[in-house]
Amino acid sequence: MKLVVTVMLKAGVLDPQGKAIGQALTGLGFEGVGEVRVGKRIELELAETDPVAAEAAGAEMARKLLANMVIESFKVEVA
């Protein structure tokens, strides 16, 4: 079973990378670009076949390693 874990900086945590990308897009002439936030997408192949158990395992992995809960939030989806 394939899982996709999306990790984003929490709201309120400064994302200078997102800011730079936003400025670059505006510089390229794209109009109306608001806040840009950059995150990570982690794709995982799991032996687990039960989607509920797989999702729970993914959340546990995110809490322990994939995300830093001080600065990031995560979302786990079965792909």
Partner: protein
């Protein structure tokens, strides 16, 4: 004082640290590979700077899971002294031994230059050879040194006197211009609640000899050696 330096793959400042410690203590620190699991007979554990595991995922995230970390945790829980410099600081926050996190520098630039640190308190083993309020120079070399913690944590750190060093001007002013990486409240280094675990981004170990361009970092190592001599 018996000191150990933990070596993670991708670390590159362990020899600088060994020189600084040997200068102060008169003997070579033990180099401990990250896969080891014991730290017996050690008074001070140092996590040096570098790029452990290539900074994959987040700086220090992989190293925080290393086998040696259980022994470091036990050492800290027993009241042992621990110091993390640069990547070592990042590893200590990732391991939960210090609060907060180190974000990408606000400027997005890798900063390789000197900075000035103001000593916030001098009654700790790490700072006892400085004066409270004293400013000293230290080299910095990092891309992710922007200290972050939520406001409650920052208030607690300040309230309990756990801020070790702040980025300052050479005259000791704490302002935005001195805060090169954008750290919350100019924080360059913090202590754990028992004042025996220190994490800081700049490198005092790289200014311990006139040949290095100065000795501003030497009091930290001399102070530690004296404070932990009886340990």
């Amino acid at each position: 004082m018996r000191a150990a330096i933990v070596v993670f793959p991708g670390i590159n400042r362990e020899r600088d640290m060994a020189i600084a410690l040997e200068r102060a203590t008169g003997h070579k620190p033990r180099l401990v590979w990250h896969k080891e699991t014991a730290l017996d007979g050690i008074d001070l554990v140092v996590l040096p700077g570098g790029f452990s595991h290539g900074d994959y995922l987040r700086c220090g995230a992989m190293a925080a899971q290393a086998p040696i970390m259980a022994a470091i945790r036990t050492h800290a829980e027993r009241g042992g002294h621990v110091m993390g410099v640069c990547n070592g600081f990042q590893i200590l926050t990732e391991a939960g031994l210090l609060p907060g996190a180190l974000l990408r520098n606000a400027s997005l630039r890798f900063l390789s230059q000197d900075c000035h640190l103001r000593v916030e308190r001098a009654d700790t083993a790490f700072a006892c050879h400085y004066q409270s309020g004293q400013v000293f120079r230290a080299p910095m070399a990092h891309g992710d040194g922007n200290y972050f913690a939520d406001d409650d944590t920052l208030d607690r750190l300040e309230g309990e006197g756990l801020v070790a060093f702040r980025y300052a001007t050479p005259e000791g002013t704490i302002d935005r211009a001195a805060n090169l990486n954008g750290s919350a409240r100019n924080i360059a280094g913090i202590y754990a609640s028992n004042l025996r675990v220190l994490g800081l981004m700049p490198h005092p170990e790289d200014l311990v000899d006139p040949l290095m361009g100065g000795t501003d970092g030497k009091p930290l190592f001399d102070g530690l050696t004296q404070a932990l001599a009886a340990a």
